[in-house]
Symmetry: C2
Subunit: 495 residues, 2 copies
């Protein structure tokens, strides 16, 4: 029996016990990036959040089919131009060259943040035929109409027929109808709240395909309705995305799926919250913004130094995915310390040997309880900050044993083994953190450091202070810190 | 004025001077991998060859749009099943999950071999609509016929109308017609040489789309006809691929493009030759095969040790792309030496300072000539082994200057600068080689090595042989070799 998992379902605005449609399997769709520019940090937050969700679902034993799309066509701006082809004209490139450039950039960034690739990564441009078919289904069901080669979803009619529209985003249908802004080139709509599911292309529009209605392109919302259900079935388990997509994107997705199949696409809707900087919305226009690269290099007025990808990932773990996350230099500095403290504690822990004479004491019990709680927090709507807090309550106990303040005998072999395992599970498998020293991969740096530590100890024992100082100074330059443990072992960390 | 470039054009079976359709721009299409299994070493050879071609075309100053597809649907086996869905059933996965897995694997392998990504990487499954349109065009032009929901290209009729079929693969049409094997499920063809451009899907076929003729999938050859011309125009500059694709794949591609547009798709056709092992064709059935991973780790009866990706890439440079390449342990060992010798010479060269009093001597002239020749070889159908040979004639001169056998004064500042530049251009930009010590990136390993070298020299000067031996032994374990130069400088390389 799997641990009970409780999720906050945006659709019903409450926490609900999760039950998959098919025992043991989970289908999850997450709205991916629009590849017309570099991925920004807010997107990274969303994708890292769902990466942790994906990892935890797998950790619970589910077989997860995780579908995350690439939007490479049909994303409308207010001025009625396609975002992709706008980029293409600016750079004098074929739209698909722009798509390739930023898709590769996005993949690189996900790799840097140690996010796992999804099981399937479908592209909007790769599913035009399926999108045309869904437009036809919606037309056949009487919930769309054609006007001058474009096809619009009939929101007013849908709202009259079924009490669905507005439910996901929590909008009152009357307010929605009065608020709706006119989009350029859409004066042919019957009602301002209607939205395009197929657009006739202007003569200078680059991305275009033949359809029964015109040479054109699909409406932006349509791709997710089509690709989620193509790979996961008409109703699947989890649909995720950023909060900003709730309306109109997700609301319209639901409408389209109802329009085509008369059913909800997903049983659970999960939404990540915004990333702020210094308490304010990130925005290019007022300079309150930072790119991932600037964050890594520290080349930004908003940070006093560079922060590594794993420090940023650790920072993200410290806020629940449904809360606004506030980026600041101070918070990142604290995360850097926290990340290192956690990784060092892990290393220390892995070095412990079980004491034969151990008899479970208070510490044993306390640690067991904290580990249980950490897992319970994760199963309570993926509460990473709470889970992390519990692990940080274990850390002083690990360090206490290392430093001799706590007797190693208080930890039973069983609890020691479990603690080792749960720490590794959390750090690597669930949180997706990794050791920052990429160079340690081939063992060369580690091997050289062992040699240098031995040479230093030898020099000290020989009272060869010149050599010992030389080593100390060089390591300082290389930002490598040595730590001498009580037992005589020396470990090292790189800043 | 750009350097004249001569290419061997498979279409006319001779070398021809290359002229792009549009001055300064080159459109190049290369048949990419079928992502139903791990990429094998023969494919790697093809893609590394075209990577070097792509790099050299850019080096010459061309803006190159390099399109390399991903075949993720419709690749027929003799038994009539789709390769992708066959993989899917075996692994109990959705076809697109298989596609994702092996596409990621392919991209990883290309990254390991330092191959640049193409400008556009279109997928067959992402161009079904366009493929259906081309089938319709060919039908409209009377060069295809429909039978029970499948559509076949009418090779006999095409051969009668135009003297094109068989030209690329150099086959006599009558022989072709008598040779043609029957493929299962294609008994409905008028002539055995005809080939499917649309296939009606059997009930258990997983990948299927609606079309005017049936729910089915496009014939394998069709995708390349469609995607090459979509992104490069009806006739473009260069079409590449492995020799094994000449027939039927490329021959049928030409037929389809003629069938749709009445023109040759590409002005130049380039074909890479086979990769053999120990003089024989690689083949799983008789065990004469090795995977890239086995090559890297050395875990194969065919090699005595592991070879790094850059050594393998260097090995590939030593054979012209149109010649069969013969992989053997001996040849790889020689390549490892050659690669290191070249990289060390480059390092030595970059350390040279121009001598003020230098007056160009014989050496100066010789080096200049060798560099010219190396570039001429590249412009002669990308002759990498010849270009490499010229560079290796420069190496002893570099080492001679380092060791004092050749006077540094013989090299003018101008030639020294040019040699440094051409070496870097060739090694990094054209050949796409890189330093193997990825860990050197952050300078830590390099910094530690400098420290270790100093400690060793100090120990030696103090006659502290114990420490000196300790250092020597540890470095040996880490497969790091020290080299003492005449001037007293010590450099290091990692095996």
């Amino acid at each position: 029996m799997k641990q009970e998992l409780v999720l906050y379902n945006s659709l019903n605005r409450k926490k609900e016990t999760f039950k998959p449609i098919e025992e043991g399997y989970i289908g999850m769709y997450v709205c991916g990036p629009t590849v017309y520019s570099d991925v920004h940090l807010g997107n990274v937050r969303t994708f890292v959040s769902f990466d942790i969700i994906y990892r935890y679902l797998k950790y619970l034993g589910y077989t997860v089919r995780y579908v995350r799309n690439i939007t490479d066509v049909g994303h409308l701006l207010d001025d009625g131009t396609d975002r992709i082809s706008k980029g293409a004209r600016a750079e004098k490139l074929e739209p698909m060259e722009v798509v390739q450039k930023y898709t590769l950039g996005f993949h690189d960034m996900m790799r840097i943040f140690n996010s796992e690739p999804p099981s399937i990564e479908p592209r909007a441009s790769g599913h035009i035929l399926e999108q045309i078919e869904m437009v036809q289904q919606i037309l056949d069901n009487g919930l769309a109409y054609e006007k001058n080669g474009s096809v619009y979803f009939d929101v007013e009619k849908f709202a009259k027929e079924q009490d669905v529209y507005g439910k996901l985003s929590g909008r009152v249908i009357e307010d929605l109808f009065s608020e709706t802004r006119e989009l350029k080139n859409q004066g042919e709509k019957k009602h301002p709240a209607d939205f395009a599911i197929w657009m006739k292309a202007a003569p200078d529009h680059l991305m275009r395909w033949n359809s029964p209605w015109s040479e054109g392109f699909p409406g932006w919302h349509l791709e997710c309705s089509v690709m989620s259900t193509k790979y996961l079935g008409t109703t699947f388990d989890i649909h995720g995305g950023g909060n900003d997509l709730k309306f109109p994107h997700h609301e319209n997705e639901v409408a389209q799926n109802f329009g085509a199949c008369k059913c909800q696409p997903a049983n659970f809707w999960l939404h990540t919250n915004m990333l702020l900087m210094n308490g304010r919305k990130m925005s290019k226009s007022d300079g309150n913004t930072i790119s991932p690269e600037e964050l890594f290099t520290g080349e930004s007025p908003h940070v006093s130094q560079g922060y590594s990808p794993m420090v940023v990932r650790f920072f993200m773990l410290q806020t629940h995915y449904r809360s606004t996350m506030d980026l600041s230099d101070e918070a990142l500095k604290a995360s850097e310390k926290g990340y290192k403290r956690l990784m060092e504690a892990r290393k220390t822990l892995q070095g412990f040997q079980a004491v034969q004479s151990a008899s479970a004491g208070t510490v044993d019990e306390e640690i067991s309880k904290l580990l249980d709680q950490a897992l319970e927090h994760m199963s309570d709507d993926f509460n990473t900050p709470m889970a992390l807090a519990r692990m940080f309550e274990v850390v002083p106990k690990i360090n206490g044993i290392r430093d001799g303040h706590i007797k190693a005998e208080e930890l039973s072999a069983e609890t020691l083994d479990r603690t080792k395992k749960v720490f590794d599970d959390f750090i690597f498998d669930i949180f997706g953190l990794q050791e920052e020293m990429a160079s340690g991969k081939d063992g060369t740096t580690d091997g050289l450091m062992q040699l240098v530590i031995e040479l230093r100890n030898h020099a000290r024992s020989q009272k060869d202070w010149g050599t010992a100082d030389k080593i100390r100074d060089t390591l300082k330059e290389l930002e490598i810190q040595l730590k001498d443990a009580k037992g005589g072992d020396t470990t090292w960390v790189k800043a």
